[in-house]
Symmetry: C2
Subunit: 349 residues, 2 copies
């Protein structure tokens, strides 16, 4: 059953008042503060209807109404207006992100700080996970007598390295020739191409360096394997600024939940991924975790060079200013993509 325009207007007024005040909204307030041309009594009738239809809840008989999850869902899908960030907000955000980042980990933690400062909610940043990697380059270098560094580059642009102890009989030239050889054998392969038959050939060709080869190949495979996506959470304590977390037990329950990264990962995996532009909003129980019952998750996807995927987002009370959060995340997201592609692929701005 379709909602009449009048019901929509009332629903919107209630939700927006509630987002603002965190107090159940009564019919009188709606009549007074919104120019709907209706009396409190009429609004009361409509509210009773909206409640019956499932868009509103009542904490108890003599309180006002609060939006139900269905109400919020309808609001973000159909009623919410776009929020335009002010010029100051935009420039301040941009300038806070306009600095030189040298390491991936730094970017992640800085970004999460920026997100939580901008929105005043706990921020989530997912470290990019590599997808379907091919080996672009593998090289060994003798660092000093007995110690070799393995460097692996995948086509996602990700570089990893590992130290390896080797016998002192191995000198510069041996390392170079093994490096050359393995590079020729392995470049361009993905994990599935490492068949026993192929490995056998490699080992046979350089049988006297079996241990050496084995360590390198193991490491390469580790790099090609789908890396676990990692999750970073910043500004968790921000959630305590919201009246729904005045209760210490509730606060503890939520913060303990958030502290465990696997919980956050699981929720992130429930949000849509892929499409660069899309922002997904999961309200309360849609996150399938009881600890999230009065919070929502807002997530944006980023994507660098078509190879690296990740997500950024926030967790706020269901009663959050969705429009504003969405706009902020969109802006931060686009900046982040730029920073990362500059950093990982050396693109000039």
């Amino acid at each position: 059953m379709e909602l009449s325009d009048r019901k929509k207007a009332i629903l919107q007024a209630i939700i927006e008042d509630y987002i603002q005040s965190a107090e159940p909204v009564g019919s009188r307030n709606i009549a007074k503060n919104h120019d709907l041309g209706l009396s409190a009594a009429t609004i009361r009738n409509e509210m009773a209807d909206l409640e019956e239809m499932g868009y509103l809840d009542k904490p108890h008989t003599s309180a006002g109404r609060i939006p139900s999850e269905m109400g919020y869902r309808f609001y973000v899908d159909s009623l919410m207006h776009r929020y335009s960030l002010t010029m100051e907000e935009i420039t301040s955000l941009q300038s806070s992100m306009d600095r030189k980042y040298s390491q991936l980990e730094n970017v992640i933690s800085e970004i999460s700080e920026i997100i939580s400062k901008t929105t005043n909610y706990p921020a989530i940043v997912e470290l990019p996970a590599e997808n379907s990697c091919r080996l672009k380059s593998v090289k060994m270098m003798l660092i000093e007598q007995g110690s070799v560094l393995i460097v692996v580059v995948t086509d996602a642009g990700v570089v990893r390295n590992r130290h390896m102890k080797v016998g002192s009989n191995i000198d510069y030239e041996v390392v170079d020739s093994i490096s050359e050889f393995l590079s020729g054998q392995l470049t361009g392969l993905c994990a599935e191409d490492f068949t026993p038959a192929r490995l056998m050939l490699i080992y046979e060709a350089m049988a006297s360096y079996g241990d050496f080869l084995k360590t390198v190949i193991e490491f390469v495979l580790e790099c090609l394997g789908n890396s676990k996506s990692r999750v970073y959470i910043g500004g968790a304590s921000n959630i305590l600024n919201n009246p729904e977390f005045e209760n210490i037990d509730r606060a503890r329950e939520f913060l303990t939940f958030i502290d465990r990264k696997e919980n956050v990962s699981r929720m992130l995996s429930l949000t849509e991924s892929g499409n660069d532009e899309h922002i997904s909003i999961k309200i309360g129980s849609e996150n399938q975790a009881p600890e999230m019952r009065d919070t929502s998750l807002v997530v944006a996807n980023y994507n660098v060079g078509g190879k690296l995927y990740g997500k950024i987002g926030i967790i706020g009370p269901k009663r959050m200013n969705y429009a504003r959060v969405v706009s902020s995340l969109e802006l931060i997201n686009s900046q982040l993509s730029e920073i990362l592609s500059r950093m990982l692929y050396g693109d000039k701005e």
Copy 2:
């Protein structure tokens, strides 16, 4: 003025009872639960003395006594017994740390999780900072047409890398010869050795690749520069399990403080560093932050290969089981040193 043995025994009893119960301790309870052979009235007199001397506080007239900061200080310095972890505790801790770590960041976050799980307090892990680096090795590799990877290894065993875009005129052999050349020129140097005169010579020798050289040298310098130590905090919500944080405003104040890494860094810098074995305890206001007024910081130093330094620790209520925390940190610390040296220098166990 020296404390009599009897006063010491009473002080210790009070502190240990308070650590256990978090409730002000009364004279009657001490008399009943501890075999001091004294009546409540006598203990009352001694308590009045201890209060006058500054070792005890009274929340209000008709409550029991609680230890003052001076009381805690005296306790950890002179009264506290060593706590011996049980065999089960030791083996369970060891087995939880006995897995393969592949990346530094993983170790850090896993360790912080282990610390906070073991102690039930928020954990702090400081990422190792490098000291006084020398360049051990620098190498460039052509990853694909137009894209070069710079790999830098310092004598602290730390490896960093960066992508660099180059003109398409630069091929495999050019990269190799520049790599060879720079390696010869720069290996063994520390940041101070990069004098203008020396740089001039380098630029002149390969004038046609000026941009290329400049980028590499900048990156090398960045790697040699003292890296900012970074701090990782895990299990912050654990603090909420303690009755001193029942009050939501107090909880928010503390968690907000802890969320800002620079606050934690500043506190860490107040603790002693250097000596590998030493554990330092800062009680309440000794941390010089009002937000820490009823918490203590317990920190252990670790040190890998004489080159990498860092700290691990916890923040708990002043009323924590110091003895137990100290023992746990000692054990975790020694395991961590092993893990890191294995990882960074490839040492076999």
